[in-house]
């Protein structure tokens, strides 16, 4: 179950000049585009964060999870629950979203990581189906309350010190999303490059050997599974903030499939890759959908091509090309 190109995540991140350029352009970007594209850019960051959650589980942990959508959905749910029921402000709601995702991840991870490698995917699909079925049936309203499919009735605000920023401005929405995503990236970098992350890559590359040198494989995989869910939960909360709308469909395992597509096309062995893949997907989809409604066929084909010829993803390909040319 090992991934062919076990490139070190740190190596891809070390292009600091490139990273700085990226950061500057992301900060400047909203001043160059009209309002609706600011929202679009925020959406790319949000779905990228969602894809990152999958990329960490899969790229570092070697676990092909189809349950990430559940954690995204739980993020939406936690956000709604905190704002409507607990009357918390935006910060509290985001914290609630993350807590909700993690609380869901603990039993899911417990069941799924108990299963052997090949069961893992099946178990995550089935848990997603279970959660979605329970929520969709309408018979079990007492479990989730009215906090699943909702359009927000107010404009959210972010209190910060003495002032407060309103999401009625697209700029606030974009910069708030960017700040949260940047924070999440730092957190992700810390996880991936911690001794824990390294141990996990050892497990991914050779489970038997890792076990022989004394690593508790099942516990490591469980911990990584749980550690990747706050990203999906945060993405769910940010989606609720920017779009002011949440949907039961986000729980469906086909949304997890979306994370797979985004992350694999971009590349799962770096933290930038999933965002790159998401940007590529969403911009291409925006243009393609004008001409061809079922543009997803094209992404299916692209996925096959990437898997066959560039298993490190498009971003990995770019990095390989530039690093290669620099060495010449």
């Amino acid at each position: 179950m090992s991934v062919t190109v076990a490139k070190d995540t740190g190596a891809l991140m070390s292009g600091t000049s490139g990273g700085l350029m990226l950061a500057v352009s992301l900060v400047v970007l909203p001043w160059l585009v009209p309002n609706y594209q600011r929202v679009f850019a925020a959406e790319i960051l949000i779905w990228g964060l969602f894809a990152l959650s999958f990329a960490i589980v899969y790229g570092v942990g070697g676990m092909l999870s189809f349950a990430q959508a559940v954690f995204f959905g739980m993020g939406c749910w936690g956000f709604n629950f905190a704002t409507y029921y607990l009357q918390l402000n935006t910060w509290g709601a985001i914290a609630a979203a993350i807590v909700a995702a993690v609380l869901m991840a603990i039993p899911t991870g417990f069941l799924a990581t108990r299963a052997r490698q090949h069961h893992f995917l099946i178990v995550t699909v089935i848990i997603s189906v279970l959660v979605h079925t329970v929520l969709a049936s309408g018979h079990y309203r007492w479990i989730a309350g009215p906090y699943i499919t909702r359009a927000m009735t107010f404009v959210p605000e972010v209190p910060l010190g003495f002032t407060s920023f309103s999401f009625s401005s697209e700029l606030v929405g974009y910069y708030f999303t960017l700040a949260c995503v940047a924070g999440a990236m730092i957190f992700a970098w810390l996880i991936v490059n911690s001794p824990f992350g390294r141990a996990l890559r050892a497990v991914r590359d050779n489970e038997e050997r890792a076990e022989l040198i004394g690593l508790n494989v099942n516990r490591l995989r469980f911990l990584m599974f749980v550690a990747a869910t706050p990203f999906a939960g945060l993405a769910g909360a940010l989606y609720a903030l920017v779009e002011r709308y949440t949907d039961l469909e986000f729980f469906h395992w086909t949304y997890s499939g979306k994370a797979v597509v985004l992350a694999v096309i971009g590349g799962v062995h770096s933290l930038i890759g999933p965002f790159f893949g998401t940007a590529f997907y969403m911009i291409a989809a925006e243009y393609l959908s004008q001409y061809f409604e079922q543009f997803a066929v094209i992404f299916g084909v692209l996925l096959l091509i990437v898997v066959r010829y560039a298993p490190e993803g498009l971003w990995g390909l770019i990095v390989r090309q530039t690093v290669g040319s620099r060495r010449k």
Partner: protein, 287 residues
């Protein structure tokens, strides 16, 4: 009356369970030999129903679909194994991603050509038999019969023919089988083709008792997964038995509770099996 309703629903469950068993067998054999969890397998079933619809509307003859669609399935399966999965056979994780890409292509491709609105095929037999005090559709009995025939045929092929013996040999010990001269590559192609054909045959059988649409595979795949987990991954008779038992159980529960409750019960049952017997409940009889 309640008793009769329960029997009818259990009967419907049995018929549907046999069809699911057909699909799950293909999933399981592909997994057992090629190490691929084929998330596009439900979509093969969906393509089967769509092709059945196309053939019925084009020729007006439903029975033609029984001949043509499984053959197309064999062809499609062989092409997919050769073209998509063979080049990346060393990585199980990549093959799952590729299967998801394939699933996108099949679903969206069908949506682009066939349309998004669900369609129906009329009951091709159109007769009913008295069953207790109610009328039961003959077609459903016929569908069950076809599914049983296909399942029995599949096991006969596996146990009575040379090729079937090769398949079992490769599944047990791939390297040893190759060393003994089994043409493993040919076995892989045939296995994938057979699995695809079984799913598409399941589609033809199920087409008149379900709606025909591009999302059909999304509902069937989890059912196959449950059957595979409860029956034990790679355990073929266990998988078939689990598919039938679960469907009958869901049918019985549906007679006094909502269908979603039935589905939730089987999902919970699967979780319990996973916790207590990760190797499946029929593990003793495996291999």
């Amino acid at each position: 009356m309640a008793m009769e309703l329960m029997l009818i629903l259990a009967m419907n469950g049995l018929v549907f369970g046999l069809i699911v068993a057909l699909i799950a067998l293909g999933l399981s054999i592909i997994f057992g030999l090629l190490d691929i969890i084929n998330v596009a397998h439900g979509d093969f079933f969906m393509v089967g129903t769509v092709l059945a619809w196309v053939i019925v509307t084009a020729t007006g003859n439903y029975w033609l679909a029984f001949l043509i669609v499984p053959l197309l399935g064999l062809l499609l399966g062989a092409v997919i194994e050769r073209g998509i999965f063979r080049p990346i056979e060393e990585s199980a994780a990549l093959s799952i991603v590729a299967a998801f890409g394939l699933s996108l292509i099949l679903q969206e491709g069908v949506r682009a050509t066939f349309g998004a609105t669900p369609k129906r095929i009329l009951d091709p037999i159109g007769l009913t038999v008295p069953f207790l005090n109610l009328q039961y559709e003959v077609y459903r009995l016929f569908a069950a019969g076809i599914a049983i025939l296909a399942i029995v045929g599949f096991f006969l092929f596996l146990h009575r023919t040379k090729f079937g013996t090769w398949m079992r040999a490769v599944r047990q010990d791939r390297d040893m089988a190759i060393a003994m001269g089994v043409p493993a590559n040919r076995v892989f192609v045939v296995t994938f083709a057979l699995g695809t054909a079984l799913a598409m045959l399941g589609g033809v059988v199920a087409a008149p008792i379900t709606s025909v649409e591009f999302r059909l595979g999304l509902d069937v795949l989890p059912l196959c997964f449950i059957a595979v987990i409860v029956g034990g991954l790679g355990n073929l008779p266990g998988t078939a038995a689990a598919a039938v038992l679960l469907a009958v159980m869901e049918g019985i529960i549906t007679s006094f509770a909502a269908p979603t409750t039935a589905r939730i019960v089987s999902l919970l049952l699967m979780s319990v099996v996973l916790l207590l017997r990760p190797q499946g409940i029929f593990a003793r009889t495996a291999r």
